[in-house]
């Protein structure tokens, strides 16, 4: 290694990088240096010994044509990957996508916009299938400033992608990169990819979904979060449990017991309401939690065949009046047992003449009330019990309207078949009935949530807190509390009697599009445009699970009635079934071809119904895969797919809402759209 050669490199490097002053200074110093130490031997001979490094240095002057080198390097890597051994191919292909987007972004950062675009367009097809949404986002990036501005790109630049890869594949890759001197590719891989090298056999193709998905937050964080303990069991002392305990008949003694328990609950609730959220001592609750987690200590139902563990409520729960309780118990007793061989009956509510204005619909638990939220800010509620009498009892309807409050426009109310709720000042995006059907919540683009009474036909409360449109609102399974999801990237927990939110769940990287309560009311799940689903602890407000796997915006969520599973549906029509305790996808359900607007588990959890924009209701068999012994399942994960039992096509009506009644009758709502 000649010294002057080295100097030449340095000069060339400085020139190339545009460090003019440094170059000047360097040359001056060099001349001084030479004049001083003319006779002495080179001082820097010992500084560089690695011939490999020298080689890299040598290649620097050639770097003038940077964009071409990116293009060239990537295409070389790509063709090498595609021609590699089948056994390792799928692992190596995973590397391509991060390299691809970082190549693109590097080019943009360096200002080669035109080249970046041609590079992007020439290779985007490879990744179109898996990452079309991301590519759409990135496509528009046309200047370095955009990269700074765009959160998605920003998070990509600042976080490393983690890729699981086996030792051999890793060696292959490195060897190839060194041999062919694809320094740029090597640089990108070093900078942005974090390899998790595992010895032994390559990882099977099946679980690559979660590996490949790029999320903004680092994946380590996600795995860390997913290791938190969660208590997915059912609420102890729920009505179902009581029914199981007592068999078909409720003996008097047990009923009395139940009532006393209710009394306790009532007291505790009062306390909590009086003393604010902190009133219910969290310490005690934690103790309870621990107790229930360790085992059902001396509980009377321990010997019963209840598979799901019981947990204490973390929230003070509302009281159910004995009358209502009776009717619910009656329903539970009359419940139809559904399974893959006995499918439910489906009652379909078709909205007609909506003029493309219906944004959402909701069905009450007993199916008697149907609400529709419209883009003209109105909310309309149909009482199905009155629908039949419409022709005869229009007078009666009019009477109802006149007695209603000023929120109901009574001008021609006599002819109207529905109750009109007006109050919002923007499109209504979501509506939800309280479990008893006496209250209705609606969320709107005007960033408010409103509470309506269906008995008084009046607006009771307007909840302000979100700063942006509220996409979704859901009552808790026992009422009183509700959760909302908004464009402001937060989900909030509210109680009916307070106009301020009780909790704010922040953490999603994009809009929170949907929200759903866990059956035990201790958790809520949120689905977001960042393609993840998160589970939050209501009590602490912390994120306890991140579910990664969707490839597009999550639109709908449902919780199984035993509390163990969650289903989520996305924009592409994919439905994922998650195991809450492990945080892993049990099985993806493919079948829908368009947005899955709605999901619902049957009451005993054996069936999952999904409603989609492709004008079908699909019924899936849950028991087929999930009811295998739990221990095995946790290990093997997705052994068999959920079966699609039945596809029920509607007559050009996208399905907006689904609801299983307590007796397991399925209600579905949709709008007749001729133009589809």
């Amino acid at each position: 290694m000649e010294e002057d050669q080295l100097e030449k490199f340095v000069v060339a490097y400085l020139k190339k990088k545009g460090f003019k002053q440094a170059e000047h200074a360097f040359q001056e110093e060099l001349q001084q240096h030479q004049s001083k130490n003319n006779s002495s031997s080179s001082i820097s001979t010992n500084s560089i010994t690695d011939p490999d490094f020298a080689k890299h240095l040598l290649s620097f002057p050639e770097l003038e044509n940077v964009p071409a080198r990116y293009q060239d390097g990537y295409s070389k890597l790509r063709s090498w990957t595609y021609s590699s051994l089948d056994l390792y191919k799928h692992e190596l292909i995973r590397v391509l996508y991060p390299v691809f987007i970082h190549c693109f972004m590097d080019l943009v950062v360096k200002g080669h916009i035109q080249e970046a675009r041609t590079f992007f367009n020439s290779f985007r097809e490879d990744h179109e299938m898996m990452h079309s949404r991301d590519l759409q986002k990135l496509e528009g990036v046309l200047s370095p400033s955009h990269l700074e501005e765009m959160e998605f790109a920003h998070s990509l630049r600042h976080n490393k992608v983690k890729i699981k890869i086996c030792q051999y594949s890793y060696d292959l890759l490195l060897q190839y990169l060194h041999k062919t001197q694809l320094t740029i590719m090597l640089g990108i891989i070093n900078e942005h990819i974090n390899f998790q090298v595992s010895p032994g056999q390559p990882i099977s193709i099946s679980d690559d979904a979660e590996v490949v998905t790029l999320i903004g937050s680092s994946q380590d964080e996600a795995t860390q979060i997913n290791q938190k303990e969660i208590h997915w069991g059912l609420l102890e002392d729920s009505l179902e449990e009581r029914l199981e305990k007592s068999g078909v008949l409720l003996s008097d003694s047990e009923k009395a017991e139940g009532e006393t328990k209710e009394g306790e609950l009532d007291e505790s609730k009062k306390r909590s309401v009086e003393g604010g959220k902190q009133g219910s001592s969290t310490k005690k609750l934690k103790k309870d939690k621990a107790a229930s987690a360790t085992g059902k200590t001396g509980r009377p139902e321990a010997n019963a065949v209840i598979t799901a563990p019981r947990v204490k409520p973390e929230l003070a729960l509302p009281v159910i009046s004995t009358e209502v309780e009776k009717s619910i118990l009656e329903d539970l007793r009359n419940r139809v047992q559904l399974s893959s061989v006995s499918l439910p009956s489906v009652n379909f509510y078709t909205f007609i003449n909506t003029h493309n204005g219906l944004n959402c619909s909701s069905i009450s638990h007993d199916g008697s009330l149907v609400a529709g939220g419209f883009s003209d800010s109105s909310l309309k509620v149909w009482d199905m019990a009155k629908l039949g009498q419409e022709a005869v009892g229009s007078v009666l309807q009019g009477e109802n309207d006149t007695t209603s409050s000023e929120h109901v426009l009574g001008s021609n109310g006599g002819k109207r078949s529905y109750t009109l709720f007006q109050g919002h000042s923007g499109p209504v995006y979501s509506a939800t009935f309280s479990p008893l059907g006496d209250f209705l919540l609606s969320s709107s683009a005007d960033s408010t949530v409103r509470l309506w009474s269906t008995t008084m036909n009046a607006n009771l409360v307007c909840y302000k807190g979100h700063n942006y449109p509220v996409w979704d609102v859901q009552f808790s399974p026992l009422g009183h509390y509700f959760a909302s999801a908004s464009h402001d990237r937060t989900a909030r927990i509210w109680s009916m009697d307070r106009i301020q939110p009780l909790r704010i769940m922040a953490g999603h990287l994009s809009d929170v599009d949907c929200v759903q309560w866990h059956v035990n009311c201790n958790y809520i799940a949120t689905g977001s445009s960042d393609k993840t689903v998160r589970l939050w602890d209501v009590q602490s407000g912390e994120c306890v699970r991140i579910f990664i796997g969707h490839r597009s915006m999550v639109l709908s969520l449902a919780m199984s009635s035993d509390g163990r599973y969650m289903a989520s549906g996305d924009e592409d029509g994919a439905i994922m079934m998650w195991d809450l305790s492990s945080g892993r996808c049990v099985t993806p359900l493919m079948g829908h071809t368009s947005c899955v607007w709605s999901l619902a588990f049957s009451c005993e959890g054996s069936l999952l119904a999904s409603g989609s924009a492709d004008c079908t209701v699909k019924l899936w068999d849950v028991t087929a895969s999930t009811k295998v012994p739990r221990t095995e399942e946790n290990k093997s994960g997705n052994t068999n797919r959920l079966r699609s039992l039945r596809t029920l096509p509607t007559k050009s009506s996208p399905v907006y809402a689904l609801r299983f009644s307590r007796r397991n009758l399925l209600f579905a709502g949709g709008v007749l759209s001729k133009s589809v």
């Binding site: 496509e139 528009g140 046309l142 200047s143 955009h146 006995s342 499918l343 439910p344 009956s345 489906v346 009652n347 379909f348 509510y349 078709t350 909205f351 007609i352 003449n353 909506t354 493309n356 204005g357 219906l358 944004n359 149907v370 529709g372 883009s375 149909w382 629908l387 109207r416 078949s417 529905y418 499109p427 995006y429 683009a445 942006y468 449109p469 996409w471 464009h487 599009d513 915006m553 639109l555 924009e571 071809t593 368009s594 947005c595 924009a613 492709d614 004008c615 209701v617 019924l619 039945r646 029920l648 096509p649 509607t650 007559k651 050009s652 996208p654 907006y656 709008v671 133009s675 589809v676």
Partner: protein, 533 residues
Amino acid sequence: MSIVPKEAIEVIAQSIGITNLSPEVALALAPDVEYRVREIMQEAIKCMRHSRRTSLTADDVDGALKLRNVEPIYGFTSGDPLRFKRAAGHKDLFYIDDKDVEFKDVIDAPLAKAPLDTSVNTHWLAIEGVQPAIPENASVEALAVPSDGKKSEYSEVLIDLKLPVKHVLSGELRLYFKHITELIVNKSGSVLLKEALVSLATDSGLHPLVPYFTYFIADEVTRNLNDFPLLFALMRVVRSLLRNPHIHIDPYLHQLMPSVITCLVAKRLGNRSSDNHWELRNFTANIVASICKRFGHVYHNLQPRVTRTLLHTFLDPTKALPQHYGAIQGLSALGPSVVRLLILPNLEPYLQLLAPEMIHEEQKNEMKRHKAWRVYGALLFAAGQCMYDRVKMFPGLLSPPTPAILKTNAKVVPTMLKKRKASTDNLMHQPSLKKVATDGKMGVIPMNSMQIDTQGTTGGYSTAAGGSGVGLSSMSRQLPGREVGGRVVKTSTVLSQAWKEDMDAGQMLASLFELFGESVLTFTPKPELSFFL
């Protein structure tokens, strides 16, 4: 670089009053504009999803703009699609064609109908998992393709539109068809038509035209029954088409047959006495026979239907003689066995019906007598052919000729008929009459059994004009008092048994000889004839 051209930026700058925008600025702005537009569209897609829609509307874009705290763009929510027009003289400059609307028109216009109010209907989408077949549910076709929803989505549209099947015919073929049809209609009988017929019989590329030709033939035949040359030309076209080895005419036979049968048994073909419709009938009879021969094994009910149609015509005394002639010709063209089966059993009564028409004293009209003789000739020909066939088949069966036959050997037919009539006129022979009736029934039986597989199909071809119910029995009922000497009874019995396979050819010959006289002998093969003589 950016999909937003620099010119667009310049135009927008001009439109908001910035005249001195430098090109560099426009160039720098263009990519940023694209980025912003994309950003807004992504937000708009979010709004669209939350409105539970799959198509983007102007409202969604407005919603997205509001999310970004940008003033929405007003005026785009109206239903009409916007029309962009190219500005004159500019390549990339477009503007929205916004028409001026007269205030008066707006005020004078009647109020639009109030839109129907939203309502909710309810129905059972499924009962215990099974979809009831009610109009509210998607049709079964949609059920058949549940796997790909994309298709079912569009199938709705297809059902509504019901696109017509487009049959593409090349220009050359269209020209060819035009010329041929013109030739047929205008210059039937010309040399050119002969060339055309040859071309029809040999050209290989004519198959696309077959449906058009069949339709043309059917149409022309029904419209021009009195245009003899045209009918003849049409039948020639049929023959040519049948002959063409490159044409699969099978699918069009059902369209073609009625026209052909019409040309065989129609009451009038041509309106002038000079028209030689006999020839046309002969010609058509051959076509029918060739069709039956060629396609009989493919369409097993073809020949039975044809024969039934012809037989009905033959046995209906109300039909005109030319119709009978056509029927006889058609039947005899179908082969001797058909004749034996269907004509011979009815020969005797028919001849009795025919006789008065042929005699000068009875029938004064020369034309009618001529016709009757024609029919007689056809019958004679048919019977003779049949006998020839029999005799040739079973030469050994010839029995020694009975004296009676030898005795009447020299009689000329008309005289024989005259004599027989005279002898039978005053004789009422009840039992024998009955016998004839039963024989007649017997004669019908084989025909019925033959048609057993066509029971379900409706009658003969459409040209088998009414009165088909008239069978033999009715015919014999019309002949009371004309019957019947013992010997004649014997002949008719013999003939009515002609359908039997083992019928004695000699007896048959004898009976035929009874009826036709010696003219029938010309049909017997030479060696046998010498045996007789």
